[in-house]
Symmetry: C2
Subunit: 295 residues, 2 copies
């Protein structure tokens, strides 16, 4: 599946990367970075889409959150993350952080012209355009992402006539980190944020989860919006974009049967990374498997 050929106006891949050029090799690990553990929902989707692929995940937990920092600082931190991942031999990069995708994706593509780089925002915008009949699209994200307008810009670049209804949902981040992903509190918060967006006659028909924390709240979100509204999960759409950029699967089926290896890197607090990160990755993580690095 080669997504790039079917997309007009954007590929979910940064301009400097070889989109439509040579595919990403499968024999090198894919680097994935985020400011913390939220990007583990993206890694989960990547692993599901490419179960035999090796990944290196880096959570810059010492310096989170990126969302409240200036674009220059986010770019500087992102370059440090990428350098650390390149030293470990990655063959492609997924920026699993909305803030870094908004602030650093173009610069990363220019700086590393031979490194395929995929961000979460372009993938999500592309999928929203494809999913929506009315081209009236709600986007929920953190306050920083919404105020930065990256999703709004990415959607309108593909369809200037699209209407975008943005809403910052900061409490969803706290709910996800606390592990209160379902039940009455999660649904009460979701209802308060989302009911005003979808109760009008001319409401959006598509909802973009524009924060890596939000997919684990999917059931609570689904419970409070009309059933016909399509949910675009940028973790899943990023995985779809990456899969489309990968080289063809090897002929030998044997190689596909052994699950890929994941290297876990963080910049602070392996215990919290494992404890909270396990909720996002949907699998128990062990603190002793997390290597703490200095950037």
């Amino acid at each position: 599946m080669e997504l790039a050929g079917t997309i007009s106006g954007g590929t979910g891949v940064s301009p400097g990367s070889p989109a439509g050029g040579r595919p990403i090799r499968r024999d090198q690990p894919i680097g994935v970075f985020d400011s913390g553990v939220g990007g583990l929902t993206v890694l989960r989707a990547l692993c599901d889409a490419l179960p035999a692929q090796d990944f290196i995940y880096l959570g810059d937990t010492a310096r989170l959150p990126y969302g409240t920092k200036s674009p220059d600082t986010v770019l500087r931190y992102s370059l440090q993350c990428v350098e650390a991942l390149l030293r470990r031999g990655i063959g492609g990069l997924v920026v699993a952080c909305n803030t870094a995708s908004a602030s650093a994706l173009d610069a990363l593509g220019a700086r590393y012209p031979n490194l395929p780089v995929i961000g979460v925002i372009e993938s999500g915008a592309e999928a929203a355009i494809e999913a929506s009949r009315s081209q009236h699209i709600a986007v929920i994200a953190t306050e920083g992402t919404i105020n930065g307008g990256a999703y709004q810009t990415a959607i309108r670049r593909r369809n200037p006539g699209a209407r975008v209804l943005p809403r910052a949902c900061s409490m969803f981040v706290a709910l996800a980190e606390e592990g209160w992903t379902s039940g009455s509190v999660a649904e009460a918060v979701a209802y308060r944020y989302l009911d005003p967006l979808f109760s009008a006659d001319d409401a959006p028909d598509t909802l973009v989860l524009g924060c890596t924390h939000f997919p684990i709240l999917g059931a609570a979100i689904r419970a409070v919006i009309p059933p016909h509204v399509r949910i675009v999960d940028s973790a899943a759409t990023t995985a779809h974009t990456l899969k489309g950029q990968m080289a063809a699967e090897p002929d030998s089926r044997g190689a596909e049967c052994s699950p890929g290896r994941i290297v876990w890197l963080a910049t602070d607090d392996a215990e919290r990374f494992a404890r909270v990160g396990g909720r996002f990755f949907g699998q128990v993580l062990k603190a002793e498997a997390v290597e703490i690095i200095d950037l």
Copy 2:
């Protein structure tokens, strides 16, 4: 009112400050700093207690939160905040941030032996000991403050026999910042956190609000705990400690009638400081009144 004389084992004032020595002069502004806007609940209490006093508030909004950073980093940032406040001529300092109070108070006292320094944790611990009959005390705070154990240590230093029941309530920070301080969502979150603490037969009789964000959730918290439980608000207790350290009021009543002046400083984003900070200070703040400084 001179609190220091009535307190055994601690004064809420750092060791290096002249607690019990010469009082804090009223003709110089008091510096108040926090990592962001949470400390504005403390400033509100200080202004209520000392309405004619001048204050300089500094929110280090560019580098928030402090709670996830190492003690060394928090100390370095705190020293930078204090230097900036000293350049503006403060005569006393209130550390209106739990993380900085835990990590930096002793070092600040040693570094500035002539500057009276008051922190929120010692004041809150002192008040809890005074308020509790059973000496079984619940403390709620952020995950960082709870894991650091500063309240637990400060309470047990005063009464080694006290029992402390700590609970991290991270969602309260998000609720406060979102402005959802009352109503069904706030009460549902409060119930989920607090009901398990207070439903046992041998439950605590006192609850310390160990985070500067929490006082604005007071009504929601009150609604879900037994009526006999006493709430210790560390903002109010810090104001009580400061008032006890101040020089006697001037003879002239005229000076007391003119309200004190507040200088507003932040390190990033005056608009957000004013918008979110206004909720914590309980009064509309104007972004143009906030001076952005570089530390």
